[in-house]
């Protein structure tokens, strides 16, 4: 009997051991790494002091940085960052361990950091980075001042980053984007259009000329309808009033809301939008690449996406969404955003991380990033914009007012699906302007 009990206990213990062993295998393999980490902590200050010597010699360092990336390894941005990391390692001996997490990094990073995962820096949309993960991030003010970094950041991005960061600099923005109307210059020329429209009435004239020339003047994806209506309404009443109207469901008491809906209805009713619009992503935008449509209101990543999706080599032009009669906003107001790197406050190698990231968001690699994915350079010293997005440069530099994404129409997760659904009905001509306002007014 005793033997049986002993056998049972032995079986239980060995099963537990196997299970724990299976789950805990990484602990044993991690042990040398953590020891190395401890050693590196001790060597950190020496390494930091001796950086210049290492730079000269390209010696290996005990320091290793871990980066959780919002990109996947095959994306253009990832290739540039990897190249910058390799160059940084060759120069300083500091290896950067990159984990390509993809866009879900925004949901993974918080639990990982809370669980004590050793991450030195990560990136995601700079607004999400700062508003959702700001508590994990280091204040970069001193390091930025020492490196003169702020002079290199686009003023509007720097201002936004500080606002989102609670008044201090906690992010290094890169790959900024703006929004506006992107168009095929060749189609404008073929239609005899020499000037870009500045008012909504001029936009209608341009649309008519393009339609007469045999192309669809505009197109949009189904996710672009909030941008269309958001921009039009914000041109009348400004973003703050748009958000106020949305939050209070006060649509019936804002005449401009109906006017903006009528304007968008007109675009579709007069046949100024593609018969397929709003199309499922990315079919709508691809119509420009296929030579069927001319203009689209979207962000500055759109030209590159269309070129890549369709193999087109379009000569892209840009103009801001036009102003409206008696409106409060004009071309000085636009959606601006970007990605952002944040350095984890708990990191033992904040300075090294900052030094590396400085090489990514400024100078040669920022320029390479812009060229590779046809994006706007983040560094003000990089004055040459990729040709694809260069049309937006003069407007971008004169911009003084920032809109949120879809001018705030997607801010409220309880309403955004209703807003989008009603806008789809408006653009499918199932609702007219008044019908849209009535439908929106029920969203209490």
């Amino acid at each position: 009997m005793k033997n049986k009990t002993l056998i049972c206990m032995a079986a239980c213990v060995s099963l537990m051991t196997m299970l724990l062993g299976g789950c805990g295998s990484s602990a044993s393999t991690d042990a040398p790494a953590s020891e190395a980490g401890t050693e590196s902590t001790g060597a950190e200050s020496a390494a930091a002091e001796d950086t210049s010597a290492q730079e000269a010699k390209g010696e290996s360092s005990d320091v290793e940085l871990t980066y959780w990336s919002m990109w996947t390894s095959t994306e253009g941005q990832a290739k540039v960052i990897q190249e910058a990391a390799d160059a940084y390692e060759a120069e300083t001996g500091i290896h950067i361990n990159i984990e390509w997490k993809g866009r879900d990094v925004k949901t993974l990073i918080g639990p990982a950091l809370d669980a004590g995962e050793k991450i030195d820096f990560f990136d995601t949309d700079y607004m999400i980075l700062l508003e959702q993960n700001g508590k994990y991030l280091a204040d970069l003010t001193d390091m930025a001042a020492a490196a003169g970094y702020e002079e290199h950041v686009l003023p509007i991005l720097l201002e936004n980053a500080k606002v989102f960061g609670g008044g201090v600099l906690k992010a290094m923005p890169y790959q900024p984007y703006t929004t506006g109307v992107w168009y095929d210059k060749a189609m404008f020329e073929a239609a005899g259009i020499t000037e870009t429209p500045e008012t909504f009435d001029e936009l209608l004239d341009v649309c008519q000329k393009l339609k007469d020339s045999g192309v669809n003047p505009m197109t949009c994806n189904s996710d672009g309808v909030t941008l269309l209506y958001g921009y039009q309404l914000a041109r009348y009443i400004g973003q703050d009033k748009v958000i106020e109207t949305l939050d209070n469901a006060d649509w019936a008491n804002v005449p401009e809301a109906k006017q903006a809906a009528d304007d968008i209805y007109t675009l579709f009713e007069k046949g100024y939008m593609s018969p397929y619009a709003p199309a499922n992503y990315p079919e709508g935008q691809n119509e420009i690449g296929f030579g069927e449509s001319c203009m689209i209101l979207n962000a500055s990543w759109i030209p590159n996406e269309i070129n890549q999706n369709t193999g087109a080599t379009i000569d892209w032009g840009f103009f801001p969404w036009p102003s409206v009669e008696n409106g409060v906003d004009g071309p000085e107001a636009s959606m601006v955003g970007g990605q952002g790197f944040g350095i984890v406050d708990a990191s033992e190698h904040k300075q090294e991380a900052f030094d590396f990231l400085l090489t990514v968001v400024t100078g040669e690699y920022d320029s390479k990033m812009a060229e590779t994915v046809s994006s706007i350079p983040a560094d003000t010293a990089n004055t040459v914009w990729p040709e694809t997005v260069s049309g937006a440069e003069p407007y971008f530099k004169q911009m003084t007012k920032t809109y949120e994404w879809a001018v705030g129409l997607e801010n409220n997760s309880d309403y955004k699906d209703f807003v989008q659904d009603n806008l789809i009905k408006l653009t499918k001509l199932e609702l007219d302007g008044q019908g849209f306002i009535d439908a929106m007014s029920t969203l209490k």
């Binding site: 639990p111 999400i128 959702q132 189904s222 996710d223 079919e283 994404w405 997760s413």
Partner: protein, 301 residues
């Protein structure tokens, strides 16, 4: 045979401990969290603020959650009738001695081994695409130009295009379960019925269906679990958006409120947990009702 209780305990203990660690703790934490206001799911408990049942009350008063629940109910009911009906029909045909049973079974089951993302991409791009999709091309060929212009990815029809694709991918799994149930019915019962003059349809109605009650209960429970966890298909149908009204389900809404969306960085882990609790209750409710309605021990085979 005498059972050795000590041995059973010893072998079950590790699994039980692991279950407690990896399942019970998150379950308890989620249930608890649903009564608190919590920003991020990983926030420490000292940051939680007790709000009682207000998360549940808020959910009941939130229009988009109501729409999500209605969408889920429509998928469960309409999809359930379609999927279980077709699966049962296929199972009955394939177990009736049809030639090439293995080939048909494999073909019908194939969609189940393909990833939902790949299946969705196939349907969206190669079936529903209004420029070169299968349906567009078919209607163009027969001269139905109006129908060829149908936009399956917008408006009211979007839900049904999603439902059709989801059902297509679900039939094979339930067909296998039904087939296994039918094959367990002793052949001599069917032989006796044949001798007594019952045709195949009569045999199906009077023998197969009554003896499949237990299997049917299992299928409804599995179907409920898969519909309650409906997420990837909905996300694919609204890509690159996080959700759309026509295809939103409670889990998509839960994801939106827990992690924020493209246009909003606001998060509410407590509300997300409340959605999770409600979904768990829905599954338990359906399971309870099925247990009440269908007794599978009426007949011993």
């Amino acid at each position: 045979m005498k059972k050795n209780k000590k041995m059973i305990i010893c072998f079950l203990t590790p699994a039980l401990l692991f279950f407690l660690l990896t399942f019970l703790y998150p379950i308890c934490r989620t249930v608890l969290m649903s009564f608190f206001s919590v920003e991020a799911v990983n926030d420490p408990m000292d940051l939680w603020e007790f709000v009682g049942i207000s998360n549940f009350v808020d959910l009941m008063n939130t229009s988009v959650f109501q729409v999500a629940m209605i969408n889920m109910l429509k998928i469960w009911l309409l999809g359930g009738v379609i999927v279980l009906g077709i699966a049962l029909l296929f199972a009955a045909i394939l177990t009736s001695g049809v030639v090439g049973k293995s080939v048909y079974r494999a073909i019908i089951y194939i969609p189940n081994i393909i990833n939902a993302v790949a299946m969705s991409t196939m349907w969206i791009n190669y079936v529903y695409n209004k420029r070169f999709g299968l349906l567009h091309t078919f209607f163009e060929k027969i001269g139905a130009h109006e129908l060829a212009m149908t936009d399956y990815m917008n408006g009211e029809i979007k839900f049904y295009s999603l439902l059709a694709a989801f059902c297509f991918g679900s039939v094979g799994y339930f067909m296998l379960i039904f087939m296994s149930g039918i094959e367990q019915i002793p052949q001599d019962i069917f032989e006796s019925a044949t001798i007594d003059g019952a045709n195949k349809i009569r045999q199906f109605k009077s023998i197969t269906l009554p003896l499949l009650k237990g299997v049917f209960k299992t299928c409804v429970t599995f179907w409920t679990v898969s519909v309650v966890g409906f997420f990837v298909w909905s996300q694919m149908w609204s890509a690159p958006l996080s959700s759309e009204l026509s295809t939103i389900t409670p889990f998509v809404y839960m994801y939106n409120v827990t992690f924020g969306t493209v246009g909003s960085t606001q998060r509410d882990g407590g509300l997300g947990a409340a959605v999770g609790v409600i979904m768990a209750l829905v599954v338990m409710l359906v399971f309870g009702i099925m247990n009440k309605l269908i007794k599978n021990d009426d007949l011993e085979l």
